[in-house]
């Protein structure tokens, strides 16, 4: 076969697959979002943005991401550094730490619901220890802060491991000699982390952060399980438009807004954590 043609032939199946199952639905969604009674219009966008729940769900989603992602980043960095120092049992620890990754987000939400609900573990424990008179309903509209915290906790528990595995791989790639040089030239362990690990981990940090931030904007099942309708988020609104209100156009418009937010944040992360030309390992 013609050597110049071969690569294109080889990527053809995957291209077809993507066109069929990604590009085509995307075009449909876009068409639906921009579609109106008289051809192209922004009516759907205007409608969803002006709905009273939109600012609240946007705020909630952003706040959740702003709390969850930094905590996860710090935790994942700490855990990755620890794992990297281990000589024995490294794989076992890594395996245990990544177990939550194998649990679907709805299941994770239900697990945490079992902890926080009125007849849940936390309540039985507190009553058992005599810390509380009777069962408390943590996840009620009276405690919006607690609901938010419970959701954040569940998200952190569920999805820190995805950053962890990326960062562990990245840290493992940093040659040992740089740490030795930093040590000889007087860097303390903390300085070595700041001045060697972090900057040399930039490519992995980029990947991990983009993945995690985008996933954070798509938070849904955990919120649904723990908060129900107490804490509206963007994805929940899309769901409501599509299935409760049967308004496909509005749902599509919301989906495109989430996509836009994701793209903006991806670009910001790429820009902030970019590696200068010539500064790669």
């Amino acid at each position: 076969m013609n050597a110049r043609l071969l690569p294109y032939v080889l990527i053809l199946p995957v291209t077809l697959f993507l066109c069929l199952f990604f590009l085509y639905p995307f075009v449909l969604v876009a068409a639906q979002a921009f579609g109106g009674s008289d051809g192209l219009s922004l009516d759907n966008f205007r409608d969803v943005v002006s709905y009273w729940k939109f600012p609240i769900s946007l705020k909630n989603t952003m706040l959740l991401a702003a709390l969850v992602v930094p905590v996860q980043l710090a935790l994942a960095l700490l855990m990755a550094t620890m794992v990297n120092r281990m000589k024995k049992g490294r794989d076992l620890v890594l395996y245990i730490w990544t177990i939550p990754l194998g649990i679907s987000d709805l299941a994770a939400g239900i697990i945490w619901l079992a902890i926080f609900e009125q007849s849940g573990f936390l309540n039985s424990m507190m009553t058992g220890l005599g810390l509380a008179e009777g069962p408390v309903n943590f996840l009620s509209y009276q405690n919006p802060g607690l609901v938010f915290l419970a959701i954040a906790l569940a998200e952190i528990w569920r999805a820190t491991a995805i950053m962890l595995v990326i960062l562990v791989a990245g840290i493992g790639l940093i040659p040992k000699e740089y740490y030795e040089a930093a040590e000889v030239f007087g860097a303390s362990p903390w300085q070595r982390f700041l001045r060697v690990t972090l900057p040399m981990l930039r490519p992995s940090l980029q990947t991990a952060l983009i993945l995690r931030v985008v996933l954070a904007f798509e938070v849904f099942a955990v919120v649904a399980a723990l908060g129900g309708t107490l804490l509206p988020v963007l994805m929940g609104e899309i769901y409501a438009y599509q299935f409760d209100l049967q308004n496909g156009g509005a749902a599509a418009a919301m989906a495109l807004i989430v996509l836009g937010i994701s793209i903006v944040f991806t670009l910001i992360i790429l820009r902030v954590l970019r590696v200068p030309k010539g500064a790669t390992i």
Binding site: E180, A181, E183, F185, P276, G278
Partner: protein, 350 residues
């Protein structure tokens, strides 16, 4: 004052003994070269002194202070790594200034020292570049500059010039020696290049299979090798060896000749002579020329003496051809003797 004492240092990696009972004292401001073949333990010894590796047994003292339990940064050392370890995410400037920044020096002081050492290493025009934009030799010079900028008591260098071209290496060698002499730094310099060792060292420690077999001035290492290994390692080409049998009264039969040698009772010794200490003569060792290599000022002859390979360096105005029969006289005061059992040198005036 930064005298370095290495006392009974040994190092095992699992079951592999990388260093055997090393004892070495390096005087304050001395330039010590560790010379040896690849894998003999030079880097390991240097890394133990730096604190990057922990010795299995033994002690390291610097300036009268035992330092082998201290972290590297408290040992008063700077180091040039064999694989450079120039930080890829920092510019050349920040690389050279890395240690100074860690010491929290003022900005203008950092700039002053970085600029000065960069000029010394001829890399002042590269200060804004990243290491990915440098050649191997330039990276190596950044590594040297980073160590020099620290103005340490002791500088440890692991093959710091190995990646430079011959001309630049010659220049850097002179530069480095000058800088270090001026700054009163004690230096340990690892290399497997004997010419470099000879030209730089106050003293050379020849290492072989995890041992220091001789630590002496370059001339002494060259003229009076303490062990047969040193004689066969130093010099290009190295010494010639011939078996010698005892002829009584300190006289030894070598090939078809008899030489005055050590007055010892051993039945056999090894006779050793450097190729350049041989002269064509009417009376001498019978040599059959196998190969003639002109070296410009000299001719390198590879001959056969009593069935053993034997090299001689003669003046290039001689006309010799392969197949010729020659008589080679050894300069009497340059002949050395080795005990074939212990490999140690046997002094003549015993």
């Amino acid at each position: 004052m930064a005298e370095i004492q290495i006392r009974n240092v040994a190092k095992r990696f699992g079951s592999y003994q990388a260093l055997h009972d090393i004892n070495l004292t390096i005087a304050d401001q001395e330039f010590m070269v560790l010379l040896g073949a690849s894998g003999c333990g030079k880097s390991t010894l240097l890394r133990i002194i730096a604190g990057l590796e922990t010795q299995t047994t033994g002690e390291v003292w610097i300036g009268g202070r035992r330092i082998d339990h201290l972290p590297p940064k408290d040992r008063g050392i700077a180091m040039v790594f064999q694989n450079y370890a120039v930080f890829p995410h920092l510019t050349v400037f920040e690389n050279i200034g890395f240690g100074l920044r860690m010491q929290k020096l003022r900005n203008d002081e950092v700039t002053r020292r970085v600029t000065r050492t960069a000029e010394l290493m001829h890399i002042e025009q590269l200060l804004t570049r990243y290491s990915g934009e440098l050649s191997g030799g330039q990276r190596q010079r950044v590594a040297v500059a980073r160590a020099l900028a620290m103005e340490p008591d002791v500088i440890l260098m692991d093959e710091p010039l190995s990646n430079l071209d011959a001309l630049l290496r010659l220049e850097m060698r002179a530069e480095l020696k000058g800088v270090l002499a001026e700054s009163n730094t004690t230096a340990i310099y690892v290399t497997h290049d004997q010419v470099e060792a000879m030209s730089l060292a106050d003293r050379i420690s020849v290492m072989h299979q995890g041992r220091i077999v001789q630590a002496a001035s370059p001339v002494e290492v060259y003229r009076d090798p303490a062990e047969r290994f040193v004689a066969g390692f130093i010099g290009n080409p190295p010494m010639n060896f011939l078996p010698a049998s005892n002829h009584g009264n300190g006289r030894w039969a070598v090939a078809d000749q008899v030489f005055a040698g050590p007055d010892v009772s051993a039945a056999a010794l090894e006779f050793a002579i450097r190729p350049e200490d041989l002269r064509p003569a009417d009376d001498g060792l019978e040599a059959r020329v196998r190969l003639v290599e002109p070296l410009g000022a000299h001719l390198l002859l590879t001959c056969d003496v009593a069935g053993t390979m034997f090299r001689a360096i003669l003046d290039s105005d001689m006309t010799v051809r392969a197949g010729d029969q020659l008589k080679l006289a050894a300069m009497p005061d340059r002949i050395r003797w080795f005990d074939p059992d212990t490999s140690l040198s046997v002094p003549t005036a015993a």
